[in-house]
């Protein structure tokens, strides 16, 4: 079994759940002896919205650089069955069309990066390429230098790569890779699986971007099988995208054991104050305003609490303003985007992790919190609520109940203790190897069933 996987982000560049999921799943598949050709957009500059510093390129040895310069190939030592191809592209997992536009413009205005821009491929070239192979690309890109074009240009590059590879199935993760998946499937004749980590309805509520919705819908209809990260997501796929139930399988994400209790004690940086943590993108989907409103209610009852908002996103400035307007500015800390060691540190300082997401297809961060022995409060509108029992759950809009539960964790130590003990145990049952096995079963059914 060999998989042509259209994925995202690998360590140390992980900026969210999508990258974590791709990494965890691919690694588990590799351990199970499945060969994977992993194709991902090559990060070409630091993102505009956060302050991640990419000091080193991927820890890789460039093996071959294809003659067309569309990709860099490499292997990671720990993953012996996986080959990587990083396609030069401006795509990023959590970008929005607007953000993408800003970045492209920024690039164009920076003379220093003109070379880089060339490296990712000028639009003229792409258009030329696309117009030569319209059948593979669907519509030629008419959008100019926008995200939709880039998604299709990326597809074109993926097709080129795929022609040099042998594989049995194509597995595409989230909408930006669906056109690539469709195109590679059309050229190779191999079945396509798409893996839905989130939908446009999760990201944008009812204000869906019709262009993105269209790409998602086409991907879902073109795919032989769809993998949804939760029943919640499966329901959205059935209700909103006109897919029949027999086509959609639910495969829950897993988590790698990274919590190390001995480290937890060693670091021991604890102030007298209690710390309640929000960690995630500060966007509408993640419900940051509900976190702040609950924080205000908590502070009415209890004073020695700090609320930490770790992450960045398009609502960050509004949230800073909101905290100030509510008069709790001094109690809320914004850290910006955290990664690696800083994530670990902030988890280890936290007394409670809160995920008030409005619509969360799965939610890997709560698993990580539990791994770090941090009790968890999640919204009932999250896929992960389907698999976790030893956590607190609340409707995202129920500010009063959210505050009530936050206060309970801070005031009643046995609650924290019991949640931690059972939660840490429960989270160990969610393994990537199980997720990988389920995916492999889906592949097998497809390839054997014709």
């Amino acid at each position: 079994m060999k998989v042509f996987m259209l994925g995202w982000e690998f360590p140390p560049f992980i900026s969210g759940g999508l990258g974590t999921a791709c990494h965890g799943l691919t690694r588990a598949m590799s351990e199970l002896g499945v060969e994977v050709v992993f194709v991902l957009p090559k990060p070409f500059q630091q993102t505009a919205s956060d302050h991640v510093r990419m000091l080193t390129p991927l820890q890789v040895k460039p093996q071959t650089v294809s003659s067309t310069q569309i990709s860099t190939s490499f292997v990671q030592k720990e993953l012996k069955h996986v080959t990587f191809h990083a396609i030069n592209s401006a795509l990023q997992p959590y970008a929005t069309p607007q953000l993408y536009q800003q970045q492209i413009e920024q690039l164009i205005h920076q003379k220093a990066t003109q070379e880089q821009l060339k490296a990712i491929g000028g639009m003229e070239e792409v258009r030329h390429w696309l117009s030569q192979e319209p059948s593979t690309m669907g519509q030629p890109g008419n959008y100019g230098g926008d995200m939709y074009t880039e998604v299709h240009r990326y597809a074109a590059s993926a097709v080129r790569l795929s022609m040099q590879e042998q594989f049995d199935v194509i597995h595409a993760h989230d909408w930006m890779t669906y056109p690539a998946g469709i195109a590679v499937s059309a050229i190779s004749g191999k079945p396509l699986v798409i893996h839905v980590h989130s939908t446009e309805y999760d990201r944008s509520g009812e204000h869906v971007n019709p262009l993105i919705y269209d790409i998602e819908r086409r991907g879902m209809h073109a795919a032989r099988k769809i993998i949804a990260v939760s029943h919640m997501t499966r329901n959205i796929i059935l209700a909103r995208y006109g897919i029949t139930g027999d086509k959609v399988e639910v495969v829950y994400n897993g988590v790698e054991r990274n919590g190390d209790a001995s480290q937890y004690n060693k670091i021991g940086i604890r102030s007298d104050e209690k710390i309640v943590l929000f960690l995630g993108r500060i966007t509408m989907q993640k419900g940051p305003e509900y976190f702040l409103m609950a924080a205000r209610k908590v502070l009415e009852v209890m004073d020695d609490v700090k609320f930490v908002m770790a992450g960045s996103g398009d609502m960050m400035h509004r949230m800073i303003e909101m905290a100030t307007q509510m008069g709790i500015g001094g109690k809320v800390l914004f850290t910006g985007f955290l990664h690696g060691k800083d994530v670990q540190k902030v988890f280890q300082m936290a007394d409670l992790y809160v995920m008030p997401s409005v619509s969360e297809p799965f939610g890997i961060a709560p698993l990580e919190a539990l791994n770090y022995d941090v009790p968890v409060l999640i919204s009932k509108q999250s896929g992960v609520a389907e698999v976790l029992h030893h956590v607190l759950k609340v409707d995202f809009w129920d500010i009063s109940e959210m505050a009530n539960k936050i206060l309970a964790v801070l005031k009643y130590p046995p609650l924290q203790l019991t949640l931690r003990e059972h939660g840490n145990f429960e989270v160990r049952k969610l393994r990537w190897s199980d997720a990988a096995k389920k995916c492999i079963k889906v592949y097998q059914e497809m390839t054997q069933g014709g």
């Binding site: 956590v391 505050a403 009643y412 046995p414 609650l415 019991t418 059972h422």
Partner: protein, 406 residues
């Protein structure tokens, strides 16, 4: 010669309403939910079963007998929400074939935390039974059949009882069986009646289980099992929740028909009869001493306390509620005392049980909360308010220790 001895447990807790830390009002209980559950169970179980038993008792003219243990809190709820249930129990009491047992008024775990409170609650329940049914109980059963040697000693020292009831757990009986009357060590007169859990659970749990190889259970088959004890036992103690009839085993399982036919099938054998626990204690001598140094109960397969005291939340909540005893009693406020005592009902702690929680089983069926964590939070919020009320009622007095949970 086995005497069939039925004892039915009748209990409903005062369930708490949703109570957040922001709530300040001192009404803690969910009257609407409690009333509707009480009426629902009354219609499915208490009323039809009481009527059935009345009918059978009359038909057999004194040869069919049963016993009940009614908690004070369920009687309060009957009086408040469905008085018609009270009149059927009253009618049963009048037949002379029904014995009422003693237990703690609040179905509490007070024996484990405060002997003084325990004795007060037992006396309260006995006074209520005397007032309502004109009987003074002579046999004691502790909440959830929680028992050890010390309980027996405490009960004997009260000087009011002939016998105590508990679980016939294998690990305390060893090679012996539950079909005889026994004696606790260090007790002079008190006798011990042990539940025959196998035959009791055939009715209470397995009756409608189609996977069970004895399904369907008919009255004649069950009577044959009773007859088999002839020669190797004097009594068959069938102890179960009264809600078995119509609530746990629905009417369409045939449980009522089973019960209607059982007396005839049992009495067909000339050596068999029905006796109440008090009569059993009087009729049969204690055959041996059963030593129970560690606590047992009738719950789950463990037959221990882990359903109420299995995690840190449960032990904390129990500890905190009993720590308020002195403070609450100092206030001499009847309302505070009643509220505090209703918070001692064991069900509150059962809801906090994390055992099997993820598997979703019998524990879930009886649980008004989505999770044990929600139930603990709710309980602690109520307790925090109760404590604040006590402190308000006793200005200037700082209690020993800290606030509940703080």
């Amino acid at each position: 010669m086995p005497s069939v001895c039925f004892y039915f447990q009748v209990h409903q807790p005062f369930r708490l309403r949703h109570y957040t830390i922001f709530d300040k009002t001192p009404n803690y209980f969910d009257d609407f939910r409690n009333a509707s559950i009480c009426r629902k169970v009354a219609n499915k179980c208490y009323l039809p079963t009481n009527r059935l038993l009345l009918d059978v008792i009359r038909r057999y003219e004194g040869r069919f007998k049963v016993s009940f243990s009614l908690t004070g809190v369920v009687l309060e709820q009957f009086q408040q929400f469905c008085p018609e249930v009270m009149s059927t129990f009253d009618a049963l009491a009048q037949t002379g074939c029904v014995e009422f047992l003693a237990e703690t008024y609040y179905h509490s775990l007070s024996f484990l935390y405060s002997r003084q409170e325990f004795v007060e609650q037992v006396n309260m329940q006995m006074q209520l039974i005397q007032k309502l049914f004109g009987q003074t109980p002579r046999v004691f059963r502790n909440t959830e059949l929680i028992y050890n040697n010390q309980l027996a000693e405490t009960i004997e020292s009260m000087g009011k009882f002939d016998a105590v009831i508990t679980e016939g757990a294998d690990h305390v009986l060893g090679h012996r069986n539950s079909n005889f009357v026994y004696r606790p060590p260090n007790c002079k007169n008190l006798k011990l009646l042990l539940k025959n859990y196998s035959l009791s659970d055939d009715i209470a749990f397995r009756f409608s289980n189609r996977q069970w190889n004895e399904y369907p259970l008919m009255a004649n088959k069950f009577a044959a099992w009773v007859n088999r004890i002839n020669g190797n036992g004097q009594v068959v103690n069938l102890f179960m929740d009264y809600e078995t009839f119509g609530e746990h085993q629905w009417q369409d399982t045939g449980i009522f028909d089973f019960m209607a036919h059982l007396p005839r099938e049992v009495l067909n054998h000339p050596d068999n009869d029905f006796r109440t626990p008090g009569e059993v204690a009087e009729a049969y001598p204690a055959m041996d001493v059963v030593d129970v140094p560690h606590i047992i109960s009738w719950a789950d397969t463990e037959r221990d306390l882990s359903a109420w005291l299995g995690n840190a939340m449960q032990s904390n909540a129990l500890h905190e509620v009993y720590r308020l005893e002195k403070l609450v009693k100092q206030t001499r406020d009847d309302q505070l005392l009643a509220d505090w005592r209703k918070l001692q009902t064991s069900d509150h702690f059962y809801y906090m049980c994390t055992k099997y929680f993820a598997d979703g089983d019998v524990h879930k069926y009886f649980n008004p909360y989505d999770s044990p964590y929600d139930s603990y939070i709710n309980y602690m919020n109520v307790l925090t308010n109760l404590k604040a009320r006590c402190e308000q009622a006793l200005p200037g007095q700082t209690p020993p220790g800290n606030a509940a949970g703080q």
